[in-house]
Each structure stands twice: as C-alpha cells, then as structure tokens.
Symmetry: C2
Subunit: 361 residues, 2 copies
C-alpha cells in the first residue's frame, strides 16, 4: 500500500521542516522544489528519501545554513561560485541563473561551483534554461563509488550529466543520466530484495565481475558505463572523469576520491584537494547559433524522426530522452506523489523530531 500526497501538501511540509532548522524561507522553498521535482519525474532516489540524510548532515554540523553564495571569479561568459557550504540546491540554482544571465549577453554562460553539497537531480538545473530558449547543461561530482577501468580504487562518483534542449511544438529533449550502468539507488534496491544483480554492474575487491549487490561493502566498486573494457568501459571512465574535472578541478572543489561523503554516518576525509563537492552549469542561447525558430523547427523534426524509429521486436515505441519522466509528472500532478511506506515513516519521524506539522494533518 503506497500513499499519495499532493505536491502542495508535501511542499508545505518540507518548507516547515527546513525553515524549522533555520533555513530562510526562500532557501527552504528551493530545497523542497528540487526534491519534489525529482519525485514528480519518478526519480524517488533523489527525492523525499533524502530528507532524513539532508537533515543528518546539518545535525552533524556539516551544512551551513544562511550560506553566502559568492561569485569569486568571472569573465563575460564564465564565473566561479563559492557556495558557502550550504545545501547544494541553493548555490546550484543561483549558479544556473547566473549562467543564463551571462548567456543573454555573451551567447553562452558557464559557471563552476565549489564548496557545495548534494544538489538533488542534475536535470532540474539543466531544465531551467528551457524557458529562456537556451540549452541547459549540468554536471556534478559525487561520493566515490566507481573504479576506473582496470582499477580497484573507488575514485569516481556515478557523476551524472544532464542536458535539456528546447523544441517547438514538441516537449523538450531532457537527458539526465549517471555515467555508470546502474545508479547506486537501484543497486541498493536489488540488495534490499535479497537478489543478485546482473554481471556488468559491479566488481569485487580485486576487480573481477560479480553479481553480489553488497560487494561495495567488501571492497568492491561500481564499474563505469560500458561495464568492461571490451564493451567500452574506458569510455564510461572518460565520461566520469570529464564530469569530475569540470565539476571540481575547474572551480576548485574536491575531486574524485576526496569528494566529501554526503551522509553523516561516514567520517569526513582527512585530505582535501579543494572545497566541498562541485558542480558545473552551462546555458547556450539557441539563437546564438541560428535563428531560434529555425532551431526549434529542426529540433521538432529531430524528435518526430526519432519518435517514429522502428521499434525492436518486443517493444512498442522508441523513447525520446525525457519521455518517461514527463509521463510520471503528468500522472503524479493529477493523482499525487506516491511515497514508499518506509520513506513515509521516516518523514513522520522527522516531523516528530523537529516538532512540525506532518503532511497528514
């Protein structure tokens, strides 16, 4: 039995929680919005299931409330932002806004962020560009769980890439994906079910393929997209590395293995190579390359063409990136956002602990 609640009810609840710990209303609103947009897009691993973890980081003194978000370096089309160790969403949203502002005059805008924390789904920020007739790009580094090809060292996160591309009559193209065969959340789900995972997701502590989803606790690692060298995992390693470098080295955040843990139960690392975790944001005006109408017509034709690709046997249709998430959003806005029972219990415990009204009342 899964209960459903409206966006508005959950939004009001999350704002109550985050203002209660001391977030300014505007910041709480941003945190809530990013978490709930993730739920609306069917990515529940980055939604309400994170609330307790987010609060745990603050309880452990690892998050600064009322964080100052400062531009510390800039050129006409670029900037670097110090996010003041706040919840990731707050600096991230300001960074993407700045990228968009820069694009208005320079054609494109590119902002790197350091001293940040987990920022939710990358796609949220990339999609901010759409209403401005811009292409949006977002990457972030993340806690290291992934081993480079031919290595056993967990040096990279599942490092996502998000790209949102506007169209005309069609809904936008929105890709948002980890640079690994499987996201950590899905692996945890397989573990909870007591099942084995497929070969090609993880490796053991000496680098051999295994189907044991608990292997990360025994020195194992997630492998890069491609799964093994013969199927191009070195390309997935390149992608994860590029995301890491753009998100950290470029703007002065911690890179790869030094990315601070985003859960309070893991100790902070002794060595740091920068500040906090890092993100990278880009906005490109489509009319910086050709008239916007021409771009949109061509993008519509692209989408129509790919939507009409011949399905493989056993499949009904070919998807455009963003299709499944948009379908979730439509259903959940109408019928409410479903919350898994254990997440619901967690949220009710949070309400009690912080003495705020629940979403049931």
């Amino acid at each position: 039995m899964v209960n459903r609640y409206s966006y508005q009810i959950l939004d009001e609840f999350l704002i109550r929680v985050f203002t209660k710990i001391g977030c300014p209303f505007e910041d709480a609103k941003i945190i809530s919005e990013v978490l709930l947009v993730s739920e609306l897009r069917g990515i529940s691993s980055h939604g309400l299931a994170r609330v307790k973890t987010y609060l745990g980081l603050w309880e452990a003194g690892r998050i600064t409330l009322n964080n100052e978000v400062k531009v510390i370096h800039e050129t006409p089309s670029t900037a670097t932002i110090d996010s003041g160790n706040g919840y990731g969403m707050i600096g991230a949203k300001k960074a993407m806004k700045l990228a968009i502002e820069k694009a208005k005059t320079a054609g494109t805008g590119w902002v790197s962020v350091n001293n940040s924390n987990h920022f939710g789904i990358a796609g949220y920020y990339a999609m901010m560009a759409l209403e401005e007739n811009m292409i949006g790009i977002t990457t972030t580094n993340a806690s290291p769980l992934v081993a480079p090809t031919w290595s056993t060292s967990k040096f990279l996160g599942t490092n996502p890439i998000a790209m949102a591309i506007p169209a005309g009559k069609n809904p936008a193209f929105v890709a948002d994906f980890a640079t690994t065969p499987i996201a950590q959340g899905k692996l945890a789900l397989i573990e909870r079910k007591g099942e084995n995972c497929k070969l090609g997701y993880v490796q053991d502590k000496i680098g051999n393929p295994t189907t044991d989803p608990t292997i990360l606790k025994q020195g194992g690692a997630i492998v890069p997209l491609g799964s093994d060298y013969e199927h191009g995992s070195h390309k997935g390693y390149c992608l994860g590395a590029i995301v890491d470098i753009l998100s950290s080295v470029l703007g002065g955040a911690n890179f790869g293995p030094f990315t601070p843990p985003q859960v309070a139960f893991l100790p902070l690392l002794e060595k740091s190579t920068g500040k906090g975790i890092g993100h990278f944001f880009g906005a490109m005006r489509i009319d910086a390359f050709r008239p916007a109408e021409d771009f949109k017509n061509s993008m519509d034709e692209w989408i129509d063409t790919f939507r009409n690709a011949v399905p493989a046997e056993g499949h009904e249709k070919v998807l455009i990136p963003g299709d499944p998430e948009r379908e979730f959003t439509e259903i959940y806005m109408k019928e409410g956002i479903p919350i898994l029972p254990d997440v619901e219990i967690e949220l009710l415990e949070v309400a009690k602990k912080y003495n705020v009204k629940t979403f049931l009342e």
Copy 2:
C-alpha cells in the same frame, strides 16, 4: 611485414596528392596533418586508410575544393560556420581557431559548423586548445550506423566526443571516444579476420543481439555504449543523440539518419534536413574559472592520483585518457609510421592514378 615511413615523407606525399587534385597548398597541408596526427596517435582507421575514400568523394563531385569557410551567425562567445562543402578538416580547423579567439575575450568560445564533410579525428581539434591554456571540446555527427535503444532504425553515427584538458608538469588529459561499445573500423577488422564479435556490439534486423560482424549489411545495427538497456545503452543513446544535436540541429547541418554518406559508393540521400554533416567545437580558458596555475596544480594532482590508482588483478597500471595515444606518437615519431600492406598498395595506386611521386622515391 609492415613498412614504416617518416611523418615528413608521408606529409610531403599527401600534400602532393591533394594539391594535384586542386587543393590550395595550405588546405592540403591541413588535410595531411590531421590524417597523419591520427596515424601518430595509433588511430589508423582515421589516417592513411581514408585517403582513397577522400579522393573518391572528390571524384564523385561531392567535395568542393577552394571551399569558402564563412561565419554566418555570431555572438561574443559563439559562431556558426558554413564550411562550403570542403574537406572537413579545413573548416574544422578554422572553426576551432575561432572558438579559441572568442574564448580569449569572452572566456569561452563555441562554434557549430554545417555544410562539412568527414574531418578526421575529433581529438585533433580539441587538442588545439591545449597550447592556449584552454580546455578543448569537439563533437561531430557521422554516417548513421547506430540504432537507438529499443529500435532497429540506424539513426545515429558512432558520434565521437573529444575533450582535451591542460595540466602542468603532466601531459594533458585527452579523451577521444565513440559513443558506442565498438568503432566501425574495429568491427570491419573482425569481419576481415572471419571471426565472430562479442555479444553487445551489434544487433540483427529485428533488434536481437548477435555475434555476426557482417550484420550491418543485413539490416543490423551497432548498439549504443552500454550495449543493452539493462547495462545503460539508453545512456549511450542519450550521448549519441546529444552529439548529433549539438553537431547538426544547433548549426543547421543534416541530423542523424540524414547525415550524408562519407563514401562515394553510397548514393546521396533524397531528403536533407540541413547542409552537409556538422561539427561542434568549444574552447574554455582555464583562467576564466580560476587562476591558471591553481587549475594546473589541481589537474596535476588529479592525474597523479588516478595514475596511482590500484590496478585490478591482471593489470599493471591504470591509464589516464591520452596515455596510449601519446606512447604511439613517441614511438612513431622515432621509428616511423607503420602502414598496413593493403593501405600501402592503395596509396601507391593513388600515386600512379594522380601521377605524383610516391613516398618510396
């Protein structure tokens, strides 16, 4: 028995060939340089083996010599270039130079190119940014051989991404990879040997996995990086699609299935959705984000860290993207560039046909 020839001897030969058909000396020099840098990097599929094909395109009237390369749209950080249907390298090198020039004043520069043809290796252009203390990015679309996940329609090329990132004392990070598990050239090699390929490279005409490397001739397709949906091929499809859109829709080139064939024996397509094939180039000044020395120190630390990752059992070391290609270059500059016997025969036939001095004399 494989013969080796010096870069200079081969360069002089290629310049003789391309000036003989009517290329201006400067253009012939660029074509030769990109082909030979590809050989030096060990990517012989994009080097001398392409000469006959390139000439075939000109013989078929599909390439314009003395092509005009025109900027048709621009903003402070962007431009779109019409490459005048020339050999791809000519417009591509000018486009990357323009991206670098824009970055000098705007912080970053981004140039899309339409009306182009095959441009050799993407990495060549991305690496042009390195000597300017910039990060270089290059993508191109290509003849459609790859089916989106859950489809049998060959709608995408092997669409490469190249990214070159400068370091300090360490050699630069240079990634240059197709967004598929295997490049077409390697598949052709397996076919020539009469062997089967691994599962996870190609699918048959109804979309089932197969080990038959000849399957592309029977309605089959290469699959995206990730190999199948359960191992993330939808992420590889996203990557291939992003490369296609940035390289074509953004600047007005033909997209996906309408990308014109880059071999003369295939007929031109009836429908077009833009001009020629397209590329996309980016240059980002590292000091547009933080002081260049800080970036370089951090990048050196990144490279040292990853180079010292623990190797998996059976492996001696973990590679940094660009390592293997740099090793090839060092050897080939010293010992000469090895040419496969059938490629050597092809080049000698070219010399005879166009009545130019060979590389043997």
